[in-house]
Amino acid sequence: MLAARVSPLAHPVLERELSLTVPTDVVLIEDAVTIVCSHLEDRFQDARTVRFNVRVALCEALANAMLYGNRGDRSKTVDLRARYGPFAIEIHVTDEGAGFDPDGVPDPTLPENLERPDGRGVFLIRCLMDEVRFNDKGNSVCMMLRRS
């Protein structure tokens, strides 16, 4: 059973912080996404974007963290931290892996890659969120949405 911890933040835009530790098991992704998005929908002014863009981007980030970062090792976990308010969302997803080079991912929309079954995760995150940053090691992604 996943349990999120929510606490207030002393920040002008990001009012709350939610933390969730997710064991490496893809079956848990749906529950983790539902928990996080239900909290975000209550506060963020654009609920529709949370229901679709954030859900898909978070699914991608968690799947990448579990399958490629932690390499399916069930003894490892994924750390999820969401800071949010009515006008902004910032979600960090961090795995215990060695990291990867996000700029080395081939463009999945090129004709030669179109029939590949994988390689669309990072592309979709970048399409669906306003800003995406990886740490230097490449094992943590920060996904942001802003509304004025």
């Binding site: 992704i29 994988d118 390689g119």
Partner: protein, 111 residues
């Protein structure tokens, strides 16, 4: 949440995706369709009318099923994508790879 497999009068296997198609359940969809393909079915329609979202693993399984079905001389069509889901297909250019109809009824007339 899950998949409902039914068959219409034109020997088309119709799979309804209820909820979402993501990394946690994509293998079930793949298994259900490959089972029908091995049993001799060649016409497939996946109906997303009741689908909230699809992740890249879900898109990937559709790509892989499309290829397998095509290799066996069959065809796979998609229908019922809402505006957000259609955007996903457009962003990834997979709208150029699949035959996509607005509704399942429309798609069934195309077989």
């Amino acid at each position: 949440m899950g998949f409902t497999v039914r068959r219409n009068g034109k020997d088309v296997v119709v799979v309804d995706v209820e909820g979402q198609l993501i990394v946690g359940n994509r293998q079930e969809l793949k298994a259900r369709i490959l089972e029908a393909l091995e049993a001799g079915d060649r016409k497939f329609l996946i109906d997303f009318t009741h689908t909230g979202y699809i992740d890249s693993s879900g898109l990937g399984v559709l790509v892989s099923l499309s290829k397998k079905i095509r290799d066996e001389g069959g065809e796979l069509k998609l229908a019922g994508l809402n505006e957000d889901l259609r955007t996903l297909f457009e962003l990834t250019k997979l709208d150029t790879l699949f035959a996509i109809s607005d509704t399942a009824a429309d798609a069934l007339t195309q077989f």
